[in-house]
């Protein structure tokens, strides 16, 4: 890029772990224009450089960690970065975001993104400083948890200033399929086993020292004004719920509306919710702020347990999904134990969702006699046994004993156990588990989880408040038509946000969000432009996934995940009879073939993705004979 664009540093750092070569490349202006940054930039590089046949643990797989035009600006939540790779849960592409500081510090160190390839002959970590980068020996860091890792890197570097390090714990080192990349004390890229990819490359962490380089901004005064307004809107949104209570503010309302997942979906009733929700925890446990870059929303806290068996335990405040996983999902009612297990999970470097679902699946199998104490290395896995859960998490992270099987995730472990076991698992047939909700009472998210190309919330039709875009709000969360249409309408916005990238809790006001982007870049994107960027990235990742063997028949819930609640507020609400129709209708509205889910040529053309049309046609031929290692016995729900 000959002329530096506003909002960009203009440089991509490429690191070949196999050769140890590190070099700078120019950011292509066309890439910045079409994909902005973050997830979009990552998907473009993944698509270009990871051809079909490269598996998740192949040295030729890539890890792209990208900031974007908003990174490092005064806009709240602009320390966020996107990590894009091909992950082991689905053996397909993924984009996953973490908040904190890393994305901002990368910009201040002079780069927009890091592209990592190859496999190191020995364990290393990457340190990026002001205008320089180096690979350093990570042998002394092996076995350290994700919090210890940060401190050890700081000591190794003799760092006295600001440092942000994201890396893997024991789980990633041992290639647990749902290992995460974690940093800044509890911020996590959690999806599709990106930590296992890092482990396969023998890369312990990527640390960035805050540099002195400034992000060039088109209109600094306007940006300051609009950024203030955007933050204030985020603080006030939804009655100030997130500001007051964090993500855990939905815990009790979810319990009362059937969305709280309880005991591996065997029930939807959890009367203890009020004695362990966010209001309870913040009302009793000691806590202090844990801010991210430039953000006054401060939705997370450091916390110390002040009652119960875990009194004195310190860690990060459990976010909603941690509260769900280590509370109702496993039948635990002690909030102190929730904090303890959250801390253990984060430190070991495990995805809390998959980890929670697999412990719950083990507990149900144990209750039903499918797994015995002997099978479980002597552990008594009755519902709510949090100490046994802790021991099992540690065994999983080391792939020790039964932990080796459970390190594969719910779907693969259940298939290996066989018999009734797969029927008890909560997962998408593609390979990964959903977030910590009972989606049988939240059909928008169930459909979104099954068809998402990004591996997690993509449409987020309920989260994104369609009314702010002039769309009618969802009036009936159990209407197949409304849900499918609502999801399709909202596709693009959140992925656009991931291209900036920004924390998803900040851009509650689209107009102000685009004002901020305009003040940074001077590009003047409209809401329609934003949706186009997001849809371009969704379609490109979907084509990538088809080329790598995506089977749309597996974009469906497991029998338990798509079952009908037998009690609680959503009792009798059955998605299974409608699911196939909903998926086809959603495909059609997305401009995809209703039967195969493949993006149609005119859809790709309309998004400026003509170059992908031949690739997709070739993948259709190739996929007919492909074996993915992800085929599943048994029918999909509604399939």
């Amino acid at each position: 890029m000959s002329t530096r664009l506003f909002g960009y540093m203009g440089r991509i750092l490429r690191v070949d772990l196999g050769t140890g070569d590190i070099r700078e490349e120019s950011l292509e202006a066309e890439v910045a224009e079409k994909y902005l940054g973050g997830t979009g930039l990552g998907v473009e590089y993944l698509y270009r450089e990871v051809p079909p046949g490269v598996e998740w643990d192949d040295p030729e797989n890539r890890i792209i960690m990208a900031s974007g035009p908003m990174g490092g600006t005064p806009v709240a939540g602009s320390g966020t970065f996107s990590l894009v790779t091909k992950g082991p849960m689905t053996n397909l592409g993924v984009s996953t975001q973490a908040n904190g500081f890393w994305g901002a510090f990368l910009k201040f160190a002079g780069s927009d993104a890091v592209v990592i390839q190859g496999r190191s002959p020995c364990w290393v970590y990457l340190h990026i400083g002001d205008g320089k980068a180096e690979l350093r020996d990570a042998t002394p860091l092996l076995g350290k948890d994700t919090w210890e890792m940060e401190e050890a890197i700081r000591q190794d570097l003799g760092a006295t200033g600001r440092l942000s390090a994201f890396g893997i714990g024991p789980a990633g080192e041992n290639r647990v399929r749902y290992a995460v990349v974690a940093g800044d004390q509890g911020h996590i890229c959690s999806k599709n086993g990106c930590g296992a990819v890092m482990g396969a490359k023998r890369l312990k962490a990527v640390a960035v020292t805050r540099g002195q380089q400034a992000v060039a901004v088109h209109d600094r005064a306007r940006l300051a004004e609009k950024a203030r307004g955007l933050l204030q809107e985020a603080i006030r949104a939804k009655g100030g719920r997130l500001y007051k209570w964090g993500t855990g503010g939905v815990f009790s309302p979810y319990a009362l509306s059937g969305i709280l997942p309880v005991r591996n979906y065997t029930t939807s009733v959890f009367p203890e919710h009020a004695s362990m929700d966010a209001e309870y925890m913040r009302g009793r446990f000691e806590h202090r702020n844990k801010p991210c870059w430039a953000c006054g929303l401060v939705h997370t806290k450091y916390m110390k347990v002040t009652e119960g068996p875990y009194t004195g335990y310190r860690g990060e405040e459990p976010e909603y999904e941690c509260m769900a996983a280590w509370g109702p999902v496993i039948g635990n009612t002690d909030p102190g134990a929730v904090l303890m297990l959250t801390d253990v999970t984060d430190r070991l470097g495990l995805d809390v969702n998959e980890a929670g679902w697999i412990i719950a699946w083990v507990m149900e199998c144990y209750e039903k006699g499918i797994l015995t104490r002997k099978d479980l290395d002597g552990l008594d896995m009755h519902w709510g046994n949090v100490e046994a859960a802790r021991t099992l998490l540690e065994k999983i992270s080391r792939r020790e004993g039964i932990g080796d099987l459970l390190a594969e995730g719910v779907k693969r472990a259940a298939e290996r156990v066989g018999g009734e076991a797969p029927a008890l698992g909560v997962y998408v047939l593609k390979g990964a588990t959903p977030r910590g909700h009972d989606h049988r009472a939240s059909w928008t998210e169930l459909l979104d989880t099954c068809v998402s190309a990004t591996g997690t919330l993509q449409s987020a039709a309920r989260v994104a408040s369609p009314d702010v875009f002039g769309h009618p709000p969802l009036t009936n969360p159990f209407s197949p038509w409304e849900v499918a249409a609502g999801n399709a309408k909202m596709e693009g916005w959140f992925v656009f946000i991931d291209c900036l990238p920004l924390c998803r809790f900040i851009p509650t006001n689209p107009s102000l969000t685009l004002d901020c982007l305009d003040a940074v870049t001077g590009r003047g994107l409209t809401v329609a432009d934003a949706f186009t960027v997001g849809r371009r990235v969704i379609n490109q990742l979907r084509v990538f996934n088809f080329r790598h063997g995506l089977d749309p028949a597996l974009e469906a819930p497991s029998p338990r995940y798509g079952s009908t609640p037998t009690d609680g507020p959503a009792k009798g609400k059955a998605i299974a009879p409608y699911f196939s129709w909903m998926k086809s209708f959603y495909f059609e509205l997305m401009g995809w073939d209703p039967a195969t889910g493949k993006p149609l040529p005119h859809t790709l053309e309309s998004l400026g993705l003509e170059k992908l049309i031949p690739d997709l046609a070739m993948s259709c031929e190739a996929s007919r004979g492909a074996t993915l290692g992800q085929r599943v016995s048994g029918a999909a729900v509604g399939g």
């Binding site: 939804k238 009655g239 100030g240 719920r241 997130l242 993500t247 855990g248 503010g249 939905v250 815990f251 009790s252 309302p253 979810y254 009362l256 509306s257 059937g258 969305i259 976010e319 909603y320 999904e321 769900a324 910590g436 909700h437 009472a441 987020a460 309920r462 989260v463 408040s465 009314d467 709000p473 969802l474 009036t475 009936n476 969360p477 159990f478 809790f505 609680g568 507020p569 959503a570 009792k571 609400k573």
Partner: protein, 96 residues
């Protein structure tokens, strides 16, 4: 007349920027044969702004739970209330 317990949770009030009335829980006398939607319409007619806002949002951002079960929008006009029923209004929450 049948007595119905109505709970307008604080989360609804926060989302709609409403000031909760009293404890947020009230007993409402309903005529025999009154439907759930009919009760809210009557409260709006009698009570002014607060229930008018709730009525306006009941087809959009508010979920209704009757005796522990979600009531679909199309069922609300037909859902007849009886003595001892418990009605809970919740926001259509998201995120987390």
């Amino acid at each position: 007349m049948p007595l119905v317990k109505v709970k307008l949770t604080r989360w609804v009030c926060q989302n709609l920027n409403l000031t909760p009335t009293g404890s947020g829980e009230m007993c409402v006398s309903v005529p025999d044969g009154e439907s759930l939607l009919g009760m809210v319409e009557r409260l709006a007619a009698e009570g002014g702004g607060f229930w008018t806002t709730v009525l306006g949002e009941i087809g959009a951002s508010i979920l209704v739970v009757l005796n522990g079960s979600l009531v679909d929008p199309h069922e609300r006009p037909q859902a007849l209330l009886k003595d001892g029923d418990e009605v809970l209004f919740l926001p259509m929450f998201d995120g987390g």
